[in-house]
């Protein structure tokens, strides 16, 4: 018999049903003024989490660039967060880093979100992977890709990682706008990725 992915087909036993390994958990939508969009009561039944977003900042001062920040378990301890970035703005490629103390007990995912002053209908998109989020013995590592293009105005594409230095399982995620909120056209979708 031909091996299938390193095991013999005849070695597979048991009655466990084969189901999808990538499941939708929940979606949150911007309200305009909400200071945080939250995923709470996240079950520990997955191996990894993924957040996919299509968002735009809401503010009352017509800013061109807003921030998206992330916090875990409502933990505002500055020392528990660190971020590293590789960024392209259409002219220059550069690297950057931030400590949680400068971000108010959270960490920036993207500091180039289109705000109210950006051209209409421009959205930022991104994918955040939160690895081994339910571990109670390891600190947590998040990686992401995020960006927006504005044709004639400066956009950005960025790769990054956020370290969350806590061995507590992640059961809630707060997505924080700066300065005000996310538009009602903004969505964050949380997915769970199963392990074998």
């Amino acid at each position: 018999m031909t091996p299938i992915l390193g095991i013999m087909a005849s070695s597979i036993s048991g009655s466990k049903a084969i189901t999808g390994a990538f499941e939708s958990i929940a979606t949150v939508t911007g309200t305009g003024t909400a200071a945080s969009l939250d995923f709470s009561s996240i079950p520990s039944t997955y191996k990894h989490l993924q957040i996919r977003y299509c968002i735009r900042g809401y503010d009352t001062t017509s800013r061109t660039y807003d921030d998206l920040r992330i916090r875990f378990n409502n933990d505002t301890t500055n020392a528990n967060y660190y971020g590293h970035y590789l960024i392209g703005n259409g002219v220059t490629a550069y690297a950057d880093s931030l400590a949680g103390v400068s971000v108010g007990g959270a960490m920036i995912i993207d500091a180039y979100l289109p705000g109210a002053g950006a051209a209409a209908n421009i959205m930022a998109v991104g994918i955040i992977d939160i690895l081994d989020y339910a571990s109670t013995t390891k600190n947590k590592t998040t990686r992401f890709i995020s960006g927006n293009d504005r044709n004639s105005a400066e956009g950005s594409i960025r790769l990054g990682s956020v370290g969350y230095f806590s061995t507590t399982a992640i059961t809630s995620i707060q997505l924080l706008p700066d300065p005000t909120g996310f538009t009602t056209t903004s969505t964050f979708a949380l997915y769970g990725i199963k392990g074998a």
Partner: protein, 168 residues
């Protein structure tokens, strides 16, 4: 929280012979995002592009971050007729390139933003990795994708799979 299976293949195309384009049409609006994965051997020094709704008007732009094994660079393209997976043109190669495109809120009413990647390593003989964010300035739902080239063809064996992701 409700949970449900949500990452589904929509269609796969495998080229039996070299071709200059691949089309996915009549894409249902039932998903939240689309994901395209392509593996292809180019016929020469070419760029791979992505076009939506067969619309070749100057509504496309991009911001790119790229590395070639020695340095990193960033560039922009405005008012183009499609998005480029690899705006930095590579040298010719017979080693397959791997491309992905995540097309967010493709059926929504805002402009459409896409994350594109292009990867091609040649064991020291020229390597490129590109991360790109692309904008399509249209509020129409996307129901067709075309993978196109600047010139030449995609080789036989090229595969392109389109997935749909459905959020709760």
């Amino acid at each position: 929280m409700a949970a449900g299976a949500t990452y589904e293949p929509i269609a796969t195309q495998t080229l039996a012979s070299a071709a200059a384009s691949i089309t996915f049409s009549s894409i249902a609006a039932t998903y939240t995002d689309l994901r395209l994965a392509v593996t292809s051997v180019p016929s020469g020094v070419i760029q791979y592009g992505l076009r939506f709704n067969n619309d070749s008007s100057a509504l496309y732009s991009l911001t790119e971050l790229a590395g070639n094994g020695a340095s990193a660079a960033s560039d922009r393209d405005v008012n183009d007729s499609n998005l480029w997976f690899n705006y930095f043109t590579p040298s010719g190669s017979t080693i397959p390139a791997f491309m992905t495109a995540d097309i967010f809120s493709y059926a929504g009413s805002t402009f459409k933003t896409t994350l594109l990647t292009w990867s091609n390593d040649r064991n020291g003989a020229g390597n490129l990795v590109n991360y790109t964010v692309g904008l399509y300035r249209s509020t129409s739902a996307i129901n067709r994708l075309d993978i196109i080239l600047t010139s030449g063809t995609m080789g036989a064996g090229t595969t392109a799979t389109l997935y749909g992701l459905k959020a709760a």
